[in-house]
């Protein structure tokens, strides 16, 4: 398998944020998370000539992040001399495929929401992500319910356009 730097960069950009979010399931510190993800991606680059990936790169990356994370948790536990601490089961479940797909779906939603105009974005997140009603938003932002409604319509229109859906 040969990758050009440009191809690698594209993989990096695509998977960086999803992998960090996946890693946050195992590690809390953002610095640790980013270190793990960077290490895994750099390793992909260093080995891309040697490894032959049967499955897609998605599973390779997510599985590597998971293994690396568990390795770190283990070594830290050992340092704390809590050798018999049980690592919760969730770390060993093998839903990397589904998990990865879900995170990638989230990334795509998130990245498209990020592109909405600021006010529109704020209102959309308040309503759809945080579950506030139009009335609550109107009070919170001191704008009319009508404006909230308009902004929500606009958000959906822009999102649909972005994904090429005509409705």
């Amino acid at each position: 398998m040969k990758l050009s730097k440009a191809q690698f960069k594209s993989i990096f950009d695509t998977y960086y944020n999803p992998l960090c979010n996946f890693c946050s399931k195992y590690l809390q510190d953002r610095g640790d998370i980013e270190d793990v993800v960077q290490e895994v991606l750099v390793k992909l680059w260093q080995n891309h000539g040697k490894i032959e990936l049967q499955k897609d790169v998605k599973y390779y990356l997510f599985t590597s992040v998971k293994n690396k994370s568990i390795e770190i948790i283990r070594s830290r536990k050992r340092k704390q001399e809590i050798l018999d601490t049980i690592i919760p089961d969730k770390y060993f479940e093998d839903p990397v495929g589904d998990e990865a797909d879900l995170i990638i779906l989230k990334e795509k939603l998130q990245s498209s929401i990020r592109q909405l105009p600021p006010k529109c974005q704020e209102i959309f997140v308040m309503n759809k992500v945080n579950g506030l009603t139009y009335n609550e938003i109107s009070e919170e932002l001191k704008i009319s319910v009508k404006t909230v409604d308009n902004q929500m319509r606009r958000a959906f229109k822009l999102l649909r356009e972005k994904f090429g859906i005509t409705k």
Binding site: M1, D13, T14, V129
Partner: protein, 317 residues
């Protein structure tokens, strides 16, 4: 549309296609996404989804990502046996490239190509190299200086600089300064040449310099730069492997073949080079093409290890 870009697919190996797939597989679950875009949809799954700074991370690891030199495959050798008599000559020799003032420890990148290969540069420019070409540039200085040293044959698609910095190519034979454009340089031939297909290029040899634009070329003859028009449909044909001749004179055909295969084609004095010739080829060997020409002109062709010749070409057949 650049020739380089349209050719990219043609030359992409299975590995390259797989790499593209890796990137594209990310886009597969768009059906799931579409179903979420209704007013009733619940986006609460995004709660706790964090943003990390991918571009800052890239800057951190960028220096670890070094492109090694690529080529592995050798293309088949075209020539077999030899003959005599000379009218048209295009020879094979390479010129050592240089970048003045560069040393190894400044991040000098030197790449040699044993097979056709494209290189993407950090400024968005791309270069499509023929086998036997090489390029050198300073990785650290490149973005600021846009300077490379080059030998061989390549098709350049140079991106416009945001800072208005012109791209400069030193070839040993001449210096080429690009004012935003697409063009070909060939130093493998005995008349080193620069052909422009789009835009504007300044070519210098010592104190001489000339500016050429689309469908013009500059060749080096006896140390002098000569500007001429390019009428051939087969410019950069070596990239696609395709050659087309429509009522071209045999002399023009030979000129194109010499360019395409980078060889000397000798023609004896008895041949009538004004005969018209029409045919097209894709990835054909030089031998096949010359035999076809010989058959249709009643002449004979010989292809040997280091000489290629055509004799007794006549229009009557």
């Amino acid at each position: 549309m650049s020739i380089v870009k349209s050719l990219r697919n043609m030359f992409s190996s299975p590995e390259e296609k797989k790499a593209t797939m890796w990137i594209e597989e990310y886009n597969e679950n768009s059906t799931a996404l579409t179903s979420m875009l209704t007013e009733e949809a619940d986006f609460s799954i995004l709660k706790g989804y964090q943003d990390f700074d991918a571009s800052a991370a890239w800057n951190k690891i960028d220096h670890l990502i070094e492109e090694d030199q690529t080529p592995v495959r050798q293309l088949p050798i075209l020539m077999k046996v030899a003959a005599a008599g000379a009218v048209l000559l295009i020879a094979l020799f390479a010129i050592k490239p240089y970048i003045s003032g560069s040393t190894i420890d400044t991040g000098l990148m030197a790449l040699n190509y044993d097979a056709k290969k494209e290189l993407n540069l950090p400024d968005g420019s791309s270069i499509f190299f023929d086998k036997g070409s090489s390029v050198e540039y300073d990785q650290f200085q490149f973005t600021d200086e846009r300077q490379i040293a080059f030998e061989g044959r390549a098709y350049f698609d140079i991106a416009k600089s945001e800072q208005g910095k012109n791209f400069v190519i030193s070839s040993g034979e001449f210096d080429v300064e690009i004012l935003g454009t697409e063009f070909e340089i060939n130093t493998l031939s005995d008349t080193p040449q620069v052909i422009v297909t789009e835009g504007k290029v300044k070519v210098s040899k010592g104190s001489q310099s000339v500016i050429i634009t689309a469908n013009e070329s500059v060749s080096l003859k006896d140390g002098k730069i000569v500007k001429s028009d390019v009428n051939s449909k087969n410019v950069a044909s070596w990239m696609s492997g395709e050659l087309r001749f429509e009522d071209e004179s045999i002399s023009a055909v030979i000129q194109d073949l010499s360019q395409h295969y980078n060889v000397v084609i000798e023609v004896d004095a008895n041949s009538d080079l004004s005969c018209p010739y029409t045919s097209s080829y894709k990835d054909s060997s030089l031998e096949t093409i010359l035999e076809e020409i010989a058959v249709s002109t009643g002449g004979s062709a010989k292809v040997t290890a280091n000489k290629v010749s055509l004799s007794n070409v006549s229009c009557s057949k």
